[in-house]
Amino acid sequence: MSYAGATTDDELRRKLAYERSAFPREYYARLRARGPIDDTEDPEEPVLVRRADVEHALRSWQEYSSDFAGIMGSEEPIIPLNVDPPLHARYRKLLDPYFAPRKMVALQPAVQQHTNDLIDAFIDRGSCDFSTEMAVPLPCSTFLSLFGLPLDELDALVRWKDIMIRPEHLVPDREAALELQATTAREIYARFQAEIEHRRAHPRDDLITYLVQAEVEGQKLTDSELRRICFLMLSAGLDTVTISLECIFAFLVHHDDARRMLVEEPGSEVNLIEELLRWETPVQTVSRRAACPIKVDGHVIPEGQRVRLALASANVDPEGLPEADQVDVRRGDLRSFAFGGGPHRCLGSNLARMELRTVVRTWHDRIPEYGLAPGAELVWNSSTLRGVDHLPLVWTPGSTR
């Protein structure tokens, strides 16, 4: 009977995953009402759902460690995601300035150009699939710019990213999917190794050269460290921006007042994007490992247990955030954990903000009147990186700039 039982469990998990992705606020409200920690969707990696607990866990790296491997098929811990302080701080000291807002100001014109090029390709058609024609390629082209790689590698990059993030979408069999993911991770590591060696011989103005030349406390990074930093950029910098764009535009097609505000008040995108990152929380959870037995309101997380922190729940928990259940760009309490918090605050948060602001601003300057294609239904992807694989938009050709 265990076989039948397993099937039922699988079906239940699939149903819960879809609800989490499609109706995140309702889903997490239900979980929070039941208790501080939930293991119904994934017994192997239960999830903390209360705002106060998530906030505490993000800061308390001594209890909630990030030191584990296996992210997206990588056999080794990736850097700095899977490194704890104090070593973590050494890497961040090196990386933070490269992703600081000042650097993003310098990168913005390239992102602006990519955004305009993508829009140029479909603007006269009067329609596009926002997901595949904007949300996916834009962060990939940014990545290629950062890494000093030619834009014609975009398709290969998208394929790598898809395998790394959601291999089960490409290969239905779970074992085969994980094998493909691991094989691809090795392929990616080999490619980065080649790029590292190339930049060492031929330095230029890009991230890999910066990393190759950098010193941490008088020491150059090893090839292994360099590869694992590059892998982090690839695994964390692409899909997160894609799904954030999808979440934002999926909201906008259903909220004409917000869309009009963006058109009529240039600059209003800054606060609206912040509020939508809180409200939609595209990156729903982050993973940790209990470094010791941890007590959470009567429950005990055993040492070594993997545990997820539900940013998506913390961000809309009315306990600790007044009017958490409303979208309000002028809210008094602005604190959001959309980019996590504590020492592992998203390294690319400034890059993500710059990309999101550039796309939202440019889109509404050029295509102010648009909507969801008639009859189109949004299908959420059931992932904790929640997005929609297709977002068909239409507008009247000629009403654009």
Binding site: A100, R102, G332, L334, R335, G341, G342
Partner: protein, 64 residues
């Protein structure tokens, strides 16, 4: 009112100086640094409160 930033808590979210650029600027790593002596003129008190309320790390401290 005075504004200060606890450098041990600051993680470089950048929300303080984006919300109150008159009071806080970003350093090379993107962390907030209080401008001048940290005294908040009355007309900027609202912005100071915004900067504090936006910090996910509660690193922005307001005092009388």
């Amino acid at each position: 009112m005075r504004i200060s930033i606890d450098p041990d808590l600051c993680q470089g979210h950048g929300r303080c100086w984006e919300n109150a650029p008159e009071l806080v600027e970003d350093d090379e790593a993107g962390r907030g640094v209080v401008r001048g002596d940290g005294v908040v003129p009355p007309e900027l008190e609202e912005k100071a409160r915004q900067a504090a309320s936006a910090c996910p790390e509660r690193a922005v401290i307001l005092s009388d």
